[in-house]
């Protein structure tokens, strides 16, 4: 597994009885650095380097919290461009997670095929943001680059090529018999346990719990205007989580096409000379779940306190409980389906 995560299992004849987890291998002290070394406008670049996969979610969430502290309203075009890059990021992150689940279930050919189909989204992100992984797209006051019309046209054309490829992937993940032996009925989390353990993200939506920050907030980013729909499933096993992620890619493509066709005119960036004061919170839906920021300012250029709660942080207690009564050999597939991102968790 690619993440620095440590589990200690107690097994009885191949069935897992007890689990202990250990995180904190990549603690870098980012919260401490953001409140001592960097000014509040520079913090959005620091925070984007917490995680490599969901970098746009961290920069956008921090920019929104800082805009609440200095009482700034950003133009509508900037909001639509932020939503565009968040959804493009969701497509590439979900395809990466699906390929890891296939690899950990033993199906290496499907891992390679999913990675091959994922390559177009990295090229699109490079055309929109200027870089493949670290976008530095959202800054305090708006966004940093504009969407050119030829780039928007190429997005729509590449989606036309990608849709039949996604249909082929859904067919294989859904009905391949040998993959279903490793995925159906494995790592089940029931709806009662999901509510009791406060899980977030596709992990919760696959158990029947309807929780999505895009469904619950409308003040900072207008999700319902661009056609957001929630996807849930009831089975709660690894196969249900795969299906939820695949269907969310269809919804993301529809949202991106709506944004490109209805992009309003306006500025990209607004400025203010105020200093941050008071305290503010903000939530956003990263590809792995709910991301939460709390910031407190004290009328200087440096923030007083910044608290980051990653989506994987909320899911670890549920993960530790989901392992019991499963076979030891299914552990890699379950960890892959849970989609951990340890850089966000122990920042």
């Amino acid at each position: 597994m690619l993440e620095p995560l440590h589990f200690k299992f107690t097994t009885e004849n191949e069935k897992i009885v007890k689990t202990e987890a250990n995180v904190g291998y990549v603690h870098r002290g980012i919260e401490q650095a953001c409140c001592s070394k960097f000014k509040f406008r520079q913090v959005s670049f620091v925070v984007g380097r917490v995680c490599g996969l969901c970098s746009i979610s961290h920069t956008t969430c921090y920019s929104q919290v800082a805009e609440k502290l200095v009482k700034l309203d950003i133009p509508k075009r900037a909001k639509y461009l932020r939503m565009l890059v968040i959804e493009l990021d969701r497509i590439h992150s979900h395809l990466l997670c699906l390929s890891h689940v296939a690899e950990n279930s033993g199906f290496e050919a499907l891992f390679m095929q999913t990675m091959r189909y994922r390559e177009f989204s990295m090229e699109l992100l490079e055309a929109v943001c200027g870089n493949r992984i670290q976008y530095d797209f959202s800054i305090v006051g708006g966004v940093s680059r504009d969407l050119r019309s030829d780039v928007a046209q190429s997005i729509i054309e590449k989606f036309k090529v990608f849709r039949p490829q996604l249909d082929e992937l859904v067919e294989i993940y859904n009905s391949n018999w040998s993959l279903s032996l490793k995925n159906k009925g494995i790592g089940v989390l029931s709806r009662e346990n999901a509510i009791r353990l406060n899980v977030v993200g596709p992990f919760a939506r696959a158990s029947g719990l309807e929780v999505d920050v895009r469904n619950e907030t409308e003040d900072v980013l207008p999700w319902k205007e661009v056609g957001f729909e929630m996807i849930t499933d009831t089975a709660g096993d690894v196969h249900a989580r795969n299906m939820v992620r695949l269907r969310e890619i269809y919804v993301s493509m529809k949202i991106i096409e709506n944004i490109i066709n209805g992009l309003p005119e306006g500025d990209l960036l607004v400025d203010t000379k105020a200093f941050p004061e008071g305290e503010a919170v903000n939530r956003i839906e990263a590809p792995r779940g709910e991301l939460f920021y709390y910031a407190k300012g004290n009328k200087t250029q440096v923030l007083e306190r910044l608290k980051i709660k990653a989506p994987t942080f909320s899911n670890i207690p549920a993960m530790v409980e989901t392992f019991t009564n499963n076979e030891y050999a299914s552990v890699p597939a379950i960890i892959g389906s849970y989609d951990p991102c340890l850089s966000c968790t122990s920042r």
């Binding site: 401490q32 009791r196 919170v281 939530r283």
Partner: protein, 113 residues
């Protein structure tokens, strides 16, 4: 955001009366160092509806006092409490040290020096 002031004596009672699993979602727990060895603890909740509201319970106390734990009403709160014990150097009921930081590393990095 709704801000509800509480204290250590009433904390378990207030949260058990407020939190309903089908309606509310526990986000996380936080601590802010206010200087002079005083720490403000915060517990964040939101509800599963549209539009969603965030509720914050706060309690201020000295850094030496032991904080009561809410693990009996909310099972998944053991992880935020373990993180605060390591990063702020405080004592929380029924929580072990050494989960996020190693036992021989620098202690309490988020406290003001």
């Amino acid at each position: 955001m709704n801000r509800i002031e509480t204290s250590f004596e009433n904390l378990k009672k207030d949260i058990a009366a407020f939190y309903k699993p089908e309606v509310h979602h526990f986000i996380t727990m936080n601590g802010v160092d206010l200087g002079n060895d005083e720490i403000e603890y915060q517990w964040f909740f939101c509800n599963y509806a549209f539009p969603s509201e965030i509720t914050m319970f706060t309690a201020k106390a000295n850094a030496d006092k032991q904080v009561p734990s809410i693990k009996n009403s909310i099972v998944s709160a053991w992880l935020p409490e373990a993180e605060l014990v390591d990063l702020l150097g405080v004592d929380i009921e029924d929580t072990q040290k050494g989960f996020v930081l190693e036992l021989d590393s620098e202690t309490a990095p988020l406290r003001k020096k």
